[in-house]
C-alpha cells in the first residue's frame, strides 16, 4: 500500500512537471497568464461606470431671458454638464440623432411667465437617460429656489461615495477566475485528445485521477496566482477596502476553483476539438457571468433566471467576495454560499472525472 502510494507520488510529480512545463513553455502563454488579467482589471476598474460625471447637453432658449441664463449658469457650474446652444429644436434634435448631446433643455418662449422647461434625454442609453433626467431636473429646481418641504439625508453604507469601481473590481475576480481557469483546463485536456496524446497517456500506468490532478494543479496554481495579483491591485491601486481575512478569501477561492475547474473538465469530457471547446466555453460561461449578478442585480431578474442563479457557482462566489471586500459579513452570512460552492464543485469534478475516457 505504502509502496503503491509512493509510486503514485512519483508519477504525480512527473505529471506536475510535464503539465507546468507544457502550460508555461510558450513565453506568450506566460504573458497571457499575467498581463490580460491586469488589463481587464484596470479597464473594468475605470470603464465600468454607470455614474454620469460628464455630459454634454444641448440648450434651446428662444428668448434668452436673464432668469434662464442664470439657471443654466448655476446647473453647469460644477462641470458635470456642459451646455451647447442650439438655435431651434430641429438643430438640437439632429445633434441628439448624431449622439453629440445626451440631453436637451428646451426653455419655453414664454419662460418668464409660464416657467416651463422641457427636459429631453436620449433614451438610446436608458440608464444615463434616467440619471440625467433625475440629476438635471433636481439641479434646476434647486437653482430656481425650490425649498423642499421634506429633505432626505442619504447615506450610503459600505461605499460612501457610491464608487461603481468598488462594486465591479471584486466582481472581476470572480469572472476572471471563471474564464481563465475553466478555459485553460478544458483546452489542456482537449488538446491532448485532439493531438492523440491522451490515448498514449491511457496506456501508461497513470491512473485517471492522477491524470486529472496533474491537469488541475498548474491551472489551480495559475488561478490562485491571478487572484493574488488582482487582489493586490484592488487593494493598493483602487483602494477598495477589505473587511475579511486572507484565509477566508483563500478558502472561498479554492471552493470556487473546484467548480470552475469542474466546469472546464465537464466541457472537455464531451467535445472532440479545441474549437468546439471554445464555443462550448462561451455558450456556458456567458450565461453564468451575465446571470450571476456581476453587472445586473439578480433580484431584478425573473424567477427562472433566479433559479439558475441559485445553482450557478459564480453567483455564490460573487456574493461572498463582494461581501468580504465591502461589508465583512463573516461566516454567518457566507456559510450557505460556501456550502453551495462546495457542493457544486464536488458534483462538477466527480461527474467530469467519471465521464472522462
Amino acid at each position: 500500500m505504502i509502496a503503491r502510494l509512493g509510486e503514485s507520488a512519483t508519477r504525480l510529480r512527473a505529471l506536475f512537471r510535464k503539465e507546468f512545463r507544457q502550460l508555461l513553455r510558450d513565453p506568450r502563454m506566460r504573458f497571457f497568464v499575467i498581463v490580460p488579467p491586469l488589463i481587464q482589471l484596470l479597464i473594468f476598474g475605470y470603464a465600468a461606470a454607470y455614474d454620469v460625471r460628464r455630459a454634454d447637453i444641448g440648450v434651446v432658449d428662444p428668448v434668452r431671458s436673464a432668469e434662464s441664463r442664470a439657471l443654466l449658469a448655476s446647473v453647469t457650474a460644477d462641470g458635470t454638464f456642459t451646455a451647447f446652444a442650439f438655435a431651434d429644436m430641429r438643430e438640437a434634435a439632429r445633434a441628439m440623432d448624431r449622439g453629440a448631446v445626451r440631453a436637451v433643455l428646451h426653455f419655453s418662449p414664454d419662460f418668464e411667465h409660464d416657467r416651463r422647461v422641457q427636459l429631453i434625454a436620449d433614451g438610446a442609453d436608458s440608464n444615463t437617460a434616467l440619471m440625467i433626467v433625475g440629476q438635471l431636473g433636481q439641479a434646476l429646481q434647486h437653482a430656481a429656489g425650490a425649498a423642499a418641504p421634506i429633505t432626505i439625508e442619504d447615506r450610503a453604507w459600505f461605499n460612501p461615495n457610491l464608487e461603481d469601481r468598488w462594486f465591479f473590481v471584486p466582481g472581476i475576480i470572480a469572472t476572471l477566475l471563471l474564464i481563465s481557469t475553466s478555459m485553460l483546463i478544458a483546452m489542456a485536456v482537449v488538446r491532448e485528445r485532439e493531438l492523440g496524446t491522451l490515448e498514449r497517456m491511457m496506456v501508461t500506468p497513470v491512473a485517471r485521477i492522477e491524470f486529472l490532478l496533474g491537469k488541475i494543479a498548474p491551472v489551480a496554481f495559475i488561478g490562485l496566482f491571478d487572484v493574488a495579483l488582482v487582489c493586490a491591485i484592488a487593494l493598493l491601486w483602487f483602494e477598495v477596502p477589505f473587511h475579511s481575512s486572507v484565509w477566508a478569501l483563500t478558502v472561498a477561492t479554492l471552493l470556487f476553483l473546484a467548480s470552475t475547474l469542474g466546469t472546464g473538465l465537464l466541457i472537455s469530457s464531451f467535445v472532440a476539438t479545441q474549437q468546439q471547446a471554445l464555443l462550448w466555453m462561451f455558450f456556458i460561461t456567458m450565461p453564468m457571468i451575465l446571470l450571476s449578478g456581476f453587472a445586473f442585480p439578480v433580484a431584478n431578474m425573473p424567477a427562472a433566471a433566479q433559479w439558475f442563479a441559485a445553482v450557478n457557482p459564480v453567483t455564490h462566489f460573487m456574493f461572498v467576495i463582494r461581501d468580504m471586500f465591502l461589508k465583512g459579513g463573516g461566516i454567518a452570512v457566507h456559510a450557505t454560499h460556501f456550502a453551495a460552492m462546495a457542493a457544486l464543485g464536488f458534483v462538477a469534478v466527480v461527474v467530469s472525472a467519471l465521464r472522462l475516457r
Binding site: A47, D125, G134, A148, T151, P160, P297, N300
Partner: protein, 368 residues
C-alpha cells in the same frame, strides 16, 4: 485572384463546418441565447426593491409616508423595524437594499413646512443605490405635494426620446446584436487558421498555387454567411419578440453589419495567425474581442462616463462604432449617412486589419 480557387477553399471550409453540426448549431444559437438573457432576464432599472422602514414614532403621518413608499413601483416595504440597529443589521445581511428612518418629530416638522427623513443605502451596488436615491427623492417630493406643499418653482416636462417608456431593454438589445457579432466573429475564425497551423496544413498550402487573398477570402466566406444569418435572426427576434422598434431600414442594418462582420472576421484571422496555436488564440481572442466589445463600446457603460484615456482607447475598438450605428438605426431611425464618421472609422479599421493580415500571411510563407 481566381474565383475557382476561392471557391475550392470555401467549399472545404464549409465541409469542415457541416461535418460538425453541433458547433454550427451553437454558432446560430448563440445570438438567440444572448438575446433571451438580455431581453428577459436583465434589466437595468429597479422594480420593487426591498426596503425597510424604521418609524421612530409610529404616528399617522409617518405611517402614511411608509404606505406611500410601499405603493410605488420602485419600492416594496418588506419589513418594519423597531430600532435603528435592527434596520442596520438587515442592511448588512442584504435583506433590504435601503432603509428609511422617519424621525419621531416628523409629523410636527412636516406641519411646520420643513421635515427631514433619513435614507440609508446599501452602497455595494452603487448604481442601484443611486437609482434608489433618485426614486426616493421623486417619491418624497410627490408625497409632499400631496400633503399640500407649495408647487416647485419650475414646471419641468421630462421626456425620454427614442425610448418613451424608458425600458432598459430597448436601449440594450440593439447593442446585444453588436456584442454577438463581435464575439461570434472572433470565436468562429480565431481558431480556424491556428488549427491548420498546428496540424501543419498551412505549410502544405505553400506548395499549391493558392494566393493569400484567395486563401483568406475562401476561408472567411462561409463565416460571413453564418454571421449575416446571425444578424438577421437577432434583428428578427429583437423586433418580433421583444418589440424593439426598427425605425431605420433593414438594408442599412445589413450593410453596416456586413462591414462590421468583415472587421471582426479579419481580426479573428489575424489573431489566429499571430498565435499559431489554438490554446493561445483562444486566450487572445477572448481578451481582445469580448472584453473591449462589452466594456469599451458603449453597450451598457456609456463611453462618455469614462476617464478621458479610456474614451480615447475606445476609438480603437471597432464595436464602439457598430454599437452606435445599431442603436441609431434601431431606435433613432437615422441612416448610416448621418453617422458617416462611424462608417468611415469602420472602413479605416477594415483597411488596417486587411493590411496587417496580409503582411502576416506573407510572413507565414503563403504566396502573394
Amino acid at each position: 485572384m481566381k474565383l475557382q480557387r476561392v471557391r475550392a477553399i470555401a467549399v472545404k471550409e464549409t465541409r469542415h463546418l457541416l461535418r460538425d453540426p453541433g458547433s454550427l448549431a451553437m454558432m446560430l444559437l448563440m445570438p438567440v441565447m444572448l438575446l433571451f438573457i438580455f431581453g428577459y432576464a436583465i434589466r437595468l432599472d429597479v422594480l420593487e426593491a426591498p426596503v425597510g422602514v424604521f418609524q421612530e414614532a409610529p404616528d399617522a403621518a409617518s405611517s402614511e409616508l411608509a404606505a406611500h413608499l410601499d405603493a410605488s413601483r420602485a419600492f416594496r416595504v418588506v419589513a418594519r423595524y423597531d430600532s435603528r440597529r435592527a434596520l442596520g443589521e438587515a442592511l448588512q445581511t442584504g435583506q433590504i437594499w435601503a432603509g428609511f428612518v422617519i424621525p419621531h418629530d416628523f409629523a410636527r416638522e412636516l406641519a411646520g413646512g420643513s421635515a427631514r427623513i433619513q435614507l440609508l443605502l446599501d452602497g455595494v451596488d452603487a448604481n442601484t443605490a443611486r437609482l434608489l436615491r433618485n426614486y426616493a427623492r421623486a417619491m418624497i417630493t410627490e408625497y409632499a405635494l400631496r400633503q399640500g406643499a407649495a408647487e416647485p418653482p419650475l414646471v419641468i416636462e421630462e421626456r425620454v426620446w427614442f425610448n418613451e417608456t424608458r425600458e432598459s431593454r430597448y436601449a440594450i438589445l440593439p447593442g446585444v446584436i453588436a456584442l454577438v457579432m463581435a464575439v461570434m466573429g472572433a470565436l468562429m475564425t480565431s481558431l480556424t487558421i491556428a488549427r491548420e497551423m498546428e496540424f501543419g496544413n498551412l505549410v502544405m498550402l505553400r506548395t499549391t498555387p493558392l494566393s493569400r487573398a484567395e486563401f483568406l477570402c475562401g476561408k472567411l466566406a462561409p463565416y460571413v454567411v453564418i454571421g449575416l444569418l446571425d444578424v438577421l435572426v437577432a434583428a428578427w427576434l429583437t423586433t418580433a419578440l421583444f418589440d424593439v422598434p426598427l425605425r431605420g431600414s433593414l438594408l442599412a442594418l445589413v450593410g453596416v453589419s456586413t462591414l462590421f462582420l468583415l472587421v471582426v472576421l479579419l481580426q479573428g484571422a489575424l489573431i489566429s495567425m499571430l498565435a499559431g496555436n489554438q490554446m493561445l488564440a483562444s486566450q487572445m481572442s477572448m481578451v481582445s474581442t469580448f472584453l473591449p466589445s462589452f466594456l469599451l463600446s458603449g453597450f451598457v457603460f456609456a463611453v462618455q462616463n469614462m476617464p478621458r484615456a479610456l474614451e480615447y482607447l475606445s476609438y480603437a475598438v471597432p464595436a464602439r462604432y457598430y454599437v452606435t450605428l445599431c442603436k441609431a438605426i434601431f431606435l433613432k431611425g437615422v441612416g448610416p449617412l448621418l453617422l458617416w464618421t462611424e462608417m468611415a472609422a469602420l472602413c479605416a479599421v477594415l483597411v488596417v486589419l486587411a493590411v496587417a493580415t496580409f503582411r502576416r500571411a506573407s510572413r507565414l510563407g503563403l504566396l502573394p
